[in-house]
Symmetry: C2
Subunit: 319 residues, 2 copies
């Protein structure tokens, strides 16, 4: 199927169903929520008689991108389920995704876990939010976009591109973002919001810069244990905004941030400026993009092992 055929197929499925339920991944980021809420907004505006729901856990830090709906199991009966921005089924937030009449995947991650019919997977896209706007554009004049939908889609693109910084940002991404900016919302407010950090997070940033270990290979790492994090009183906030920080140092080529979880294992966030780190992530129960992956370390020994592998990967690179 060509892209246009897939998009047409998706619109056809939407038209055929009275109820559409949109899922996204667990531990959402602005693209997961932006693409979900953006598509929900477009569908609500385009098909005011249909019931359109966006489901998944609501995080207060993301209230500014909209609120999810709480729905009963029987809503899934005869419903179309769209899963956005989620590569693997175990990561889908709300496991009722399989209970609908039809399942469709729309995503920009590598298509490792193939589910949904049709599937629209474009790994070259910057973000799923970009794909949602492409869908809106391709299906003109049948779809309507609101300023609010444009705002959250813009937020999704900004989130997944590190505000137009990462290599996934294409000429097309810039065009889409520019077109979104023509809707009536403040892009500047969105950017400020996504760039915002709390005072505790600012202090944690300071801690990261003061305590990051940088190896001669260009590998860098920092361990954020409960003991380290406790004095910062981050509350419900995530440590995700400190993840890009080591990358701003010229001396750092790839880095790992180990954050202690409730069960005392460590969530690993791996980032790279060039050498692919997703194979390393896969060896430690994770995966992701070539330059941005996640994994898990069960104890200090596995942390040491991950650092060793990252160092070896970069040392090899430099040869």
């Amino acid at each position: 199927m060509t892209l246009k055929e897939t998009q047409t197929e998706i619109l056809k499925a939407i038209k055929q169903h009275q109820t559409v339920i949109i899922h996204r991944h667990q531990r959402p980021d602005p693209d997961a929520i932006g693409s979900q809420m953006g598509l929900a907004g477009i569908l609500k505006a385009s098909f005011p008689d249909k019931k359109i729901y966006a489901v998944g856990k609501q995080y207060p830090g993301f209230d500014w991108l909209g609120k999810t709906d709480t729905i009963e199991d029987d809503v899934y009966k005869d419903a179309l389920v769209l899963v956005l921005d989620t590569a693997n089924q175990p990561r889908i937030d709300d496991d009722r995704y399989s209970k609908g009449d039809q399942l469709i995947k729309i995503d920009h991650h590598p298509n490792d876990d193939q589910f949904g019919d049709p599937m629209w997977v474009s790994p070259e896209a910057s973000s799923t939010s970009e794909l949602v706007f492409d869908f809106y554009t391709a299906m003109q004049p049948e779809l309507t976009c609101t300023a609010e939908a444009a705002r959250v889609l813009y937020a999704g693109i900004v989130g997944d591109t590190g505000r137009f910084m990462y290599p996934s940002t294409s000429t097309h991404t810039m065009k889409v973002a520019g077109e979104l900016m023509q809707f009536d919302f403040s892009a500047s407010d969105v950017n400020q919001k996504e760039d915002e950090i709390s005072i505790p997070l600012a202090r944690l940033s300071a801690y990261v810069y003061e305590n990051l270990t940088i190896l001669p290979s260009g590998a860098a790492y920092i361990k954020l244990s409960d003991e380290v994090l406790e004095p910062f009183k981050l509350g419900d906030e995530s440590t995700s905004s400190v993840v890009p920080l080591p990358g701003r140092l010229k001396e750092v080529s790839a880095w790992a941030i180990f954050v202690e979880s409730k069960d005392h294992t460590y969530r690993i966030r791996l980032r790279s400026k060039g050498p692919a780190i997703n194979e390393l992530a896969k060896r430690h129960g994770g995966g992701g993009h070539a330059l941005a992956s996640g994994a898990v370390a069960h104890d200090d020994d596995e942390i040491k092992q991950v650092v060793k592998e990252l160092d070896a990967l970069l040392s090899k690179q430099g040869e």
Copy 2:
């Protein structure tokens, strides 16, 4: 004169002169250098028989955006002088700018000091680099742009928009940036470069977050005296990359960073998320944009006075 007439007039002046000398402002930023080097690159590619020079002090931190030319005084005889990105004549780097046959100003700052004939001043543009690309586009097919010119123009736009963050970023800015990205250079490398900080600067960032004073009005300030800065061993590096940091805190609405100069006065960098701070800057020997200005404090008393005025400005705002 319409915009198109002004642009045509500028191209005519370029064609009429065998020598073109391009100036920009002192203490340059990526837009000053990007617009200067970008225009120089476009003119060199378009008119290989002309002598095109870019002048002004060379800063090692900006070597990646190109090198300025050292020229004798007599080169100015019969030359066309283009002054880019510089609002006021005293700020022009290399005061021989008036020694040419004709003087033209191309700028996006408020046109407070009117000089040059013609003048092309578009304060609504994100950057002078954006204007240079507009000039290239408007004068098709007479002008040629190289990948290197596109790279430095892109760098200029990224610099002056805080990477597409500030309100000056328009749909047109995104379109221009997207078109520039179609040339053969790595936008991602440019972004990484502009986002890069050295380890000493990272530690200074940490210091700023740990020592920033935040007033209840939303005014914030920090004084970076020689004594404070000395241990960071910044060398020739500028403190400019810490300037945006306070703005990332929700609690901060406008802020002042006081950096001690060699003569022990303080260079003030004023930034705001909303309330205009350029009138305040003008009262202290400076000026600039509504949300980004510079000024000078001669001593601690003037620092206190500036903080007081900033606090009053924001307290008034909140009423």
